[in-house]
Symmetry: C2
Subunit: 372 residues, 2 copies
């Protein structure tokens, strides 16, 4: 849509997504304290987990001193280079034949996942830095155990390659007691020890909460920056805070007679004469049907339940009772934010916090709170 | 991202979303045949169900003769007006105080949901057309039964209001045998009969498949245009076809030893030495974790299972066996499309077809097949 058209709209005709850049910067600083002996990169793949890479990455670079960023693919990296000309940018998907010049032209660092990729960078990387990624147990991307052993036994392939980082990724960091964490830690210790003087990195957000053993030289927080709790069995650190709010608007308030169904499939029937409010957010905005009859929104100082099925563009809440007697059409209501946190919404829906966060869609009127 | 940056990327560095505009036009024509005695509007809310309103609406307007469009809110309507200057555009969320001039300036038609909205349009609508929406059982938006009775008993409020359409919405159209369908039909018949000469509309995609009784003067297909089946118990009409394909790329192929876990939480363990491919699509692209260990992709002429948890930016498939022996890094693979249809993906995941469709995200390299 042309910019002049967008700015000429009344703000109350859409739901609003407010992104608090100072809170993201504060969460980054909190991570730095949690991993005091390590540097902290920022995971900004998937459009900074849906929060907007164009705004989030420059805020972290300029206001929080974050120098290293990770994205998933080359397209994200080229966009990020445009927003942060001087940052170190790592590309997790790795290096593919025919892409080398894009990396060197934009000064991007491939995360090398295989012997073939290493050979490509050796031949065409112009001596520029890369990362080496070792798979220590998640069986996703990176050198396999066999490939790792071969590489370490024949160190010559590493000559003439400028390795800026050695890294691996934890499979079960959300589960403190899982024995795979220690196995991966031990394996990565041995691997990283064969690269003296080269920074090592293992921990994602979950790994940061596993303690200093897991921090090595650089941690790679994602979810923690955006206010989510990456651990199933540890509390969210006290200085990590929500970074965004989704505010809907009440489109219509209606009385529903006892026994009447609300929404598609009539999955909720009024237990008595009820007062229902229709809110202008639905699954097309990322508020999925896993919230049918179990979601909570926050209105007039208290939580209020979702009733019936979530529609594409709206949902219904039950505002029966004196606590909501002043609620009327046009009122704002929190779907996610300070009161309905990612952790709480995840508990209610069984959707992961990561999916709720990255599921936030584009239809919102988007407002960024600037750092200064 | 600046346009010149985007076009300079290699196409194989991202997954691709291909949207087949001729197929959308063909589906619209098929709907016209299914509801041969009615006009057919097009539901293009939520960015045309994620398929792109800027491309879909002009294709339907210019190539299929679709003259009427429905969107959810004023922001969507103003954008659509930009793309189709001569279409009739209805705004389902209704009319709010302070918005009247946006409607009249852009020649938009509010779907009037309440007596208050009717009064607003009467006062400020400059005699321009609107729709009246009666709630006949979904208890969402529209005149309640009491408000409807009052309106019909005191017809004077309707004078000086230019009503172009009377409409209602079905709650259970996906379920052919549900008795609420007939109840809503009977109620709407009575209401619409009090507006002689004014077109009436009841049926969404599901309602279209309920048969001619439900078609009235205008049907309002959404899901059918985009290749989904809106019925739980009727087959997809033979001339409705998929309209989009999501093609991922294989990032890495790896051998996994017997017993090794794949992905976060090691939720899949190799039953024997296995060959695993990592694909560059994850839940941040809309391929959610409900597909963990149950999703199917289509590769080398057959279906192939998702193994382990879907990650934010990638997922793993099991390509063990001779049928996949030639599969290698860089290969394309279908996640959704001709073989893995919306209906099939919904069966596998229990996610609704609507959510799978509108969940398609922005990270894809997007290609539109033009109508001519």
């Amino acid at each position: 849509m042309p910019r002049e058209t967008m700015t000429s709209l009344p703000v109350d005709c859409q739901a609003t997504l407010t992104i608090d850049l100072p809170a993201i910067v504060d969460n980054y600083r909190a991570v730095r304290k949690l991993a005091a002996n390590a540097d902290a990169a920022a995971m900004v793949k998937a459009d900074a987990y849906g929060m907007g890479i164009a705004e989030v990455a420059p805020a972290l670079f300029h206001e929080a001193g974050c120098a290293n960023f990770f994205v998933a693919n080359l397209a994200e990296a080229v966009e990020l280079r445009h927003h942060t000309p001087d940052a170190c940018i790592y590309v997790l998907n790795g290096l593919f034949a025919g892409h080398e010049a894009y990396f060197t032209d934009h000064k991007l660092r491939p995360v090398i996942n295989s012997p073939e990729q290493l050979a490509l960078w050796k031949a065409n990387g112009q001596g520029l830095p890369c990362a080496l990624h070792f798979d220590t147990g998640i069986n996703r991307l990176g050198f396999s155990p066999d490939e790792t052993a071969q590489l370490l036994n024949h160190a010559s392939p590493l000559k003439e390659v400028n390795i800026a980082l050695v890294m691996s990724h934890l499979a079960c960091a959300d589960d403190k007691g899982n024995s795979l964490n220690k196995q991966q830690l031990e394996t990565f210790r041995k691997i990283s020890a064969t690269f003296p003087g080269i920074p090592a990195s293992l921990a994602n957000s979950g790994g940061i909460l596993l303690g200093p053993d897991y921090h090595f030289d650089m941690v790679r927080p994602g979810l923690l920056l955006f206010g989510g709790n990456p651990s199933l069995n540890a509390p969210l650190p006290a200085d990590i805070h929500p970074v965004f709010t989704i505010s809907g608007r009440i489109l219509q308030v209606r009385e529903v007679r006892e026994g009447m169904g609300v929404g598609y499939g009539s999955t909720w029937n009024a237990p008595h004469r009820s007062r229902i409010a229709i809110v202008n957010v639905g699954y097309a905005d990322g508020y999925l049907q896993v919230f049918n009859n179990v979601g909570h929104l926050y209105l007039a100082g208290r939580e209020v339940p979702v009733v019936g099925r979530v529609s594409m563009d709206m949902l219904a809440i039950d505002i029966t009772g004196p606590g909501f007697s002043t609620v009327s059409e046009g009122d704002e209501i929190e779907l996610l934010g300070q009161h309905i946190t990612l952790e709480k919404a995840s508990e209610l829906s069984n959707l992961s916090q990561y999916e709720i966060l990255t599921g936030v869609r584009e239809r919102y009127h988007r407002v960024y709170i600037p750092v200064k």
